[in-house]
């Protein structure tokens, strides 16, 4: 079975959200990131791998070290994904307002 990797799955996990917050201000090595967590190093590596696969994190080779940094483009996708949901409710409420306003007008005519 192919495991689905998308940004929503990535941010559903609290450890992964904490990692994203950590690297938001500066790029860090896997070791430096892992030192912030009580979890076993391989577990943190697994999280980093998922975040990289979802393109939320980018890897950069610097000498012998690999640095992880945030991919703002992909993060924007996460911020934008709520907009279609808001739009649906906005349309729905606009309809409600229009329907009820027509009731006021009908009432006035009577």
């Amino acid at each position: 079975m192919k495991i689905r990797r998308d940004v929503f799955q990535a941010i559903a996990d609290p450890t992964r959200r904490a990692i994203l917050l950590l690297v938001a201000t500066q790029s860090m090595t896997a070791g430096a990131i892992a030192s912030n967590f009580d979890t076993a190093r391989p577990t943190v590596s697994k999280h980093l791998q998922i975040l990289a696969e979802c393109e939320l994190l980018k890897q950069e080779q610097n000498g012998r070290e690999i640095y992880y940094h945030l991919n703002p483009q992909k993060m924007k996708e996460v911020a934008d994904f709520i907009e279609p949901f808001r739009k649906i409710w906005d349309d729905r409420f606009n309809k409600l307002e229009a329907v009820m306003k027509s009731k006021i007008d009908e009432h006035k005519k009577k």
């Binding site: 609290p14 709520i82 279609p84 949901f85 409710w89 906005d90 729905r92 409600l96 009731k103």
Partner: protein
């Protein structure tokens, strides 16, 4: 311009808060949620049943070309006219599951009112399914639009 409808879906929580200010007196806003005739008009669905009282229940159904395309139902836990509705809501055949809704109606001025809707999901994952739904729909729309253009080019 400030948005009339606001959505707050905080990370790490299993709820969504929707707020909206209406150019409608409070009584009319509430009626839009109370009267089956009005619900049908703005929600675009048929109201099969609605019992606006504590422990009452409701059911909506939408058909398209004689086929049922949407069905939702729930139980009303509290119904205080012009103030509050507490109810469950469930879309049938959807992975989102039952949600608990707190609807609060407030008077702002004689002609304006505000609705605050707090929706609680079973888990963060269930909330994500809900939020992804229109997102996925939007992507599908974009895809079919693209397909249409490509087909024309052929």
């Amino acid at each position: 311009m400030e948005q009339k409808t606001k959505i707050n879906a905080e990370e790490g929580k299993q709820e969504i808060v929707i707020t909206r200010e209406f150019d409608l007196p409070l009584e009319l806003l509430f009626k839009a949620y109370e009267e089956p005739e009005f619900i049908e008009q703005w929600m675009g669905t048929k109201v099969l049943k609605i019992e606006n009282k504590k422990h009452g229940s409701y059911a909506f159904e939408t058909s398209h070309d004689g086929k049922v395309v949407f069905r939702a139902n729930g139980t009303i836990h509290e119904f205080i006219p012009n103030q509050k509705i507490i109810r469950t809501f469930e879309m049938e055949n959807m992975p989102i599951g039952v949600q608990l809704e707190f609807l609060e109606f407030e008077k702002l001025t004689d002609d304006t009112s505000k609705l605050t809707m707090q929706i609680i999901y079973r888990s963060e994952q269930h909330r994500a399914e809900q939020l992804k739904l229109p997102f996925a729909y939007g992507i599908n729309m974009a895809h079919s639009k693209l397909q249409e253009i490509i087909n024309k080019l052929k």
